[in-house]
């Protein structure tokens, strides 16, 4: 699972549980810092490969009529005439102080710009994740242990859901629920009603994935001795499902959440465009089009940060949900 450092051996006997946990945490955090540094470095050098002159992107983008003096001025203002190594360490130094630079096109600090956008995107992602969880759980609870037809139907729904492209699903949802039925607005309005269609668009394909894994875990859980004994005690089938098996079904889901969040951020690029929501995805798309390098770098770093935090969190949650993991140490 993500975040667990590879290659760490079995803890030496005699070490206390606490020491093991501390060591694990230290590795986890060290790994997280490394990932952020590597992402910043990779992005910095990848962006040097982009054809085109950053100075031109700063001066009104392509198609501008900037004079040679203006271009030279900008190059020296932004340090673009410095050697690459100097620029690289300057960037790292700025990053350490939390300075992401200034947007080429909007001329405002990137941190400020992204700070205003991340809330909306995270809210969208978290709501979609929650909705996907509920949908997936409902589908897998409904379709397991009810015979072959329900199982086949459940699997079919999962597969179809997971194969739906966001942009197409969004168009269908708008056609049905906005234009047809008039239940929800097609353009996000900041109200809860405006949130329904974007969240549904993101949640349905994700639920397809989650349900696949949950159903298998549920089937496993249903065969566990404690479930069998509970059944022997005469507990209702539904009661058993809720009391005993959800926890088991949830475990793989939790460790998937880090991946799911990244997946949702990808989807947000499309969904934010269709539903006209402000957010990181749309910011990124626009920045890519305008070659606004500081914004692209900022979004990439921010997403990496979110991923890293999620990885650490899911690792910790998984340990709490399943104490065996904490005992066993890293594989």
């Amino acid at each position: 699972m993500t975040g667990r450092p590879a290659g760490t051996g079995v803890p030496a006997p005699g070490r206390t549980h606490r020491a093991r946990t501390a060591r694990h945490l230290a590795l986890l955090l060290g790994g997280a810092v490394f990932v952020l540094w590597a992402v910043a470095t990779l992005t910095f050098f990848a962006i040097r490969l982009i054809p085109g002159d950053p100075a031109q992107a700063i001066l009104g983008g392509p198609g501008s009529q900037a004079s040679q003096e203006a271009l030279d001025q900008v190059r020296s203002d932004y340090g673009l005439d410095q050697p690459l190594v100097v620029q690289y360490f300057a960037m790292l130094g700025r990053l350490l102080t939390g300075d992401l630079g200034t947007s080429y096109s909007l001329k405002v600090p990137v941190a400020e710009l992204l700070g205003a956008q991340i809330g909306g995107t995270l809210l969208l992602a978290v709501c979609s994740l929650a909705a996907a969880w509920v949908l997936a759980l409902a589908l897998s609870l409904w379709s397991t242990g009810r015979g072959r037809i329900a199982s086949a139907l459940g699997q079919g729904i999962e597969l179809v859901a997971a194969a739906l492209p966001h942009f197409w699903l969004a168009a269908v949802l708008i056609a049905v629920f906005s234009t047809g039925l008039g239940w929800f607005p097609p353009v996000a309005t900041g109200t809860p009603a405006g949130f329904v269609l974007p969240v549904t668009t993101l949640a349905i394909p994700l639920a397809g994935f989650l349900a696949q894994v949950m159903r298998e875990s549920l089937i496993d859980a249903m065969r566990q001795p404690f479930v069998v004994s509970a059944r022997a005690r005469g507990e209702s089938a539904l009661g058993i499902r809720f009391r005993h098996t959800i926890r088991h079904a949830a475990l793989p889901g939790i460790s998937l959440s880090g991946w799911a969040l990244g997946w949702l951020l990808s989807g947000a690029v499309v969904v934010e465009t269709i539903f006209a929501m402000p957010g990181l995805g749309r910011t990124l798309l626009q920045a890519v089009t305008l070659r606004d390098i500081p914004v692209v770098t900022g979004v990439v770093l921010l997403v990496a940060l979110v991923y890293v935090v999620m990885t650490v969190l899911t690792d910790l949650v998984a340990r709490i949900a399943d104490p065996r993991l904490a005992q066993e140490g890293a594989r």
């Binding site: 001066l59 009104g60 009529q65 003096e69 001329k107 168009a171 234009t179 353009v187 006209a276």
Partner: protein, 552 residues
């Protein structure tokens, strides 16, 4: 406008000028329709506008200067002069003007009762500061800077008289000044510096920028002290609307769905099929306002092989069939153009015969030009070279219907043996391809008031790239005769002479087989039946809501 019936379906042959007239008919229709019911304009309310144009990176249209900026700036900035339906220049912030006999000096008498919304008085000093701002390289102006190419300086003659001193006579000066990219802003506002001024420029307009939430909306509120509508406005004094909520909704289907659901009152850039549907059902009013300047056309790069041979250019024009495609893809909402200029330009000259499809003629011309062999795909070859036409298409500037039309161009040209290679590119890559001359055909809209756009697009001076790499003469037209005509037309003070020179220049440009005109630059708005009194300014066809009101 409630029952405003957009113009009856036009026959294509009436075409060109009909579109311009139609815009007028529509507007006239709107206003005429209101009268019989004798509905009085209702004050108050917020108009919700959904824009599909790109979100500007700076609200000050002096910086850069593109159409999305003009759309918004028209709500809160005003120009020295405007244009009426017939194309005549009319007073706005300037009451009158007079050129010296040699055409090198223009005196503008300004209104003396206007203040910017920050309280700064509007005067000759403000005009001077604005023109200097536009000409200052640090402003990064592109459109405005080019338009002031012949302006040497502005002198303050009196508080209400500004004198423009030119380096050469400029017959396009008034047209240039009517554009929102040369609108007048508060000198105090400009003094705040670019970053702050970009967020909320200060003008004299009917509305004031109240806030800008990036990627979401610009909030505009009424200017209660508004006194300076253009001479063709419906009413004096402040706007009826209390505010405008200007939202950015990039997806066309979402925009139309929002209009249908009553979430917004006005949308721009609707899809042709939705225009047709709205038009037919009468559910929404269609405001058809083609942009001025150049028509939407495909330019043929005559600067390199294979289009350096005029016969090959002529063969391409003879091979390509677009009429049926325009009909089908635009559902009858766009008329075919046969001119380099927009149909709203009074001096637009059309020559339909030049663009008749004739495959036999195309084949004969290509044979004559030496493209005689064919490879397995049916593509013509000459000395082992395939007849390839690279066609970079900007996904940011071409709507889906237009991209489909380009695919039809590709398919029909193939029959004559052209291998048209379309590449869909984002804006930066697209400019990159143009700057590197990696194109044989390209479509690039250019909006400017007046026929002087021809000088920008087809004068050989425009072949030389700016330091950024940009050049406007994408067809690489390099003809001394055309250069001379365009230069003369731009400096003559006699309207009849000017018209004759522009017509001759257009005759030469069209006759040189440098371009394939398609239709006017489409610029449509769909309005909810609640909206009354909205119109498109006859300058660059941006919407104006200073006379608009919302019915209960």
């Amino acid at each position: 406008m409630r029952t405003a019936t957009p113009p009856a379906r036009r026959s294509r042959t009436v075409g060109l000028l009909a579109v311009a007239v139609a815009g007028g008919v529509l507007l006239a229709g709107c206003q005429a329709d209101e009268a019989p019911v004798s509905e009085e304009p209702v004050a108050g309310g917020t108009l919700r506008y959904a824009s599909g144009d790109a979100e500007p990176s700076c609200l000050d249209p002096h910086v850069g200067g593109n159409y999305p900026q003009a759309l918004l700036a028209s709500q809160f900035l005003e120009s020295l002069v405007s244009r009426d339906e017939s194309g005549e220049i009319i007073p706005w912030l300037a009451e009158s003007w007079e050129a010296s006999a040699d055409g090198l000096s223009w005196e503008f008498t300004l209104r003396d009762d206007v203040e910017f919304t920050d309280g700064t008085p509007f005067d000759a000093e403000a005009v001077k500061v604005n023109m200097e701002h536009l000409q200052d390289p640090a402003t990064q102006s592109s459109t405005g800077y080019l338009a002031l190419g012949k302006v040497d300086r502005v002198e303050v003659v009196a508080p209400d008289v500004a004198r423009f001193v030119l380096t050469a006579p400029d017959s396009a000066l008034l047209e240039s000044l009517s554009q929102p990219w040369l609108a007048i802003e508060s000198p105090a506002g400009l003094a705040r510096g670019m970053e702050e001024n970009c967020q909320a420029p200060i003008g004299t307009g009917a509305f004031v920028v109240d806030g800008w939430v990036k990627q979401e909306r610009v909030s505009l509120v009424r200017n209660d002290d508004y006194v300076s509508p253009p001479a063709d406005a419906e009413h004096e004094g402040p706007a009826y609307l209390e505010a405008i909520d200007w939202r950015f909704v990039p997806d066309a289907a979402s925009r139309y769905a929002a209009l249908q659901g009553g979430q917004v009152d006005v949308i721009d850039n609707p899809q042709p099929d939705t225009i047709a549907a709205a038009d037919e059902s009468g559910a929404f009013a269609w405001l058809d306002a083609p942009r001025p300047g150049a028509s939407n056309r495909i330019e043929l790069n005559s600067g390199q092989a294979p289009f350096d041979d005029e016969r090959v250019r002529e063969a391409f024009l003879a091979a390509v069939e677009v009429d049926d495609g325009i009909d089908a893809l635009y559902f009858g909402t766009a008329g075919r153009s046969y001119s380099a200029l927009s149909s709203v330009e009074a001096l637009a000259y059309s020559e339909p015969e030049l663009f008749a499809t004739d495959l036999d003629r195309a084949d004969a011309l290509l044979d004559e030009a030496g493209w005689t062999e064919r490879d397995d795909d049916g593509t013509r070859m000459k000395d082992g070279t395939r007849l390839v036409l690279r066609f970079p298409v900007s996904t940011n500037q071409s709507v889906p219907a237009e991209q489909s039309l380009f695919e039809q161009v590709q398919a029909t040209a193939k029959e004559a043996g052209f291998d048209v290679q379309i590449s869909l590119l984002d804006l930066s890559s697209w400019y990159g391809a143009l700057f590197a001359h990696e194109y044989e055909i390209v479509s690039a809209p250019y909006t400017k008031v007046g026929p002087d756009v021809l000088r920008i697009l087809y004068h050989s001076d425009s072949i030389t790239p700016a330091p950024s790499g940009y050049f406007a003469n994408l067809a690489q037209v390099n003809d001394p005769e055309i250069d001379a005509l365009l230069a003369e037309a731009a400096s003559t003070s006699d309207p009849a002479e000017r018209a004759a020179q522009y017509e001759e220049a257009q005759r030469l440009i069209l006759g040189g087989h440098y371009l394939l005109p398609l239709y006017d630059q489409q610029n449509s708005f769909l309005l909810s039946p609640k909206v009354h009194g909205a119109r498109a300014l006859p300058t660059v066809s941006t919407p104006s809501f200073s006379d608009a009101w919302l019915a209960e």
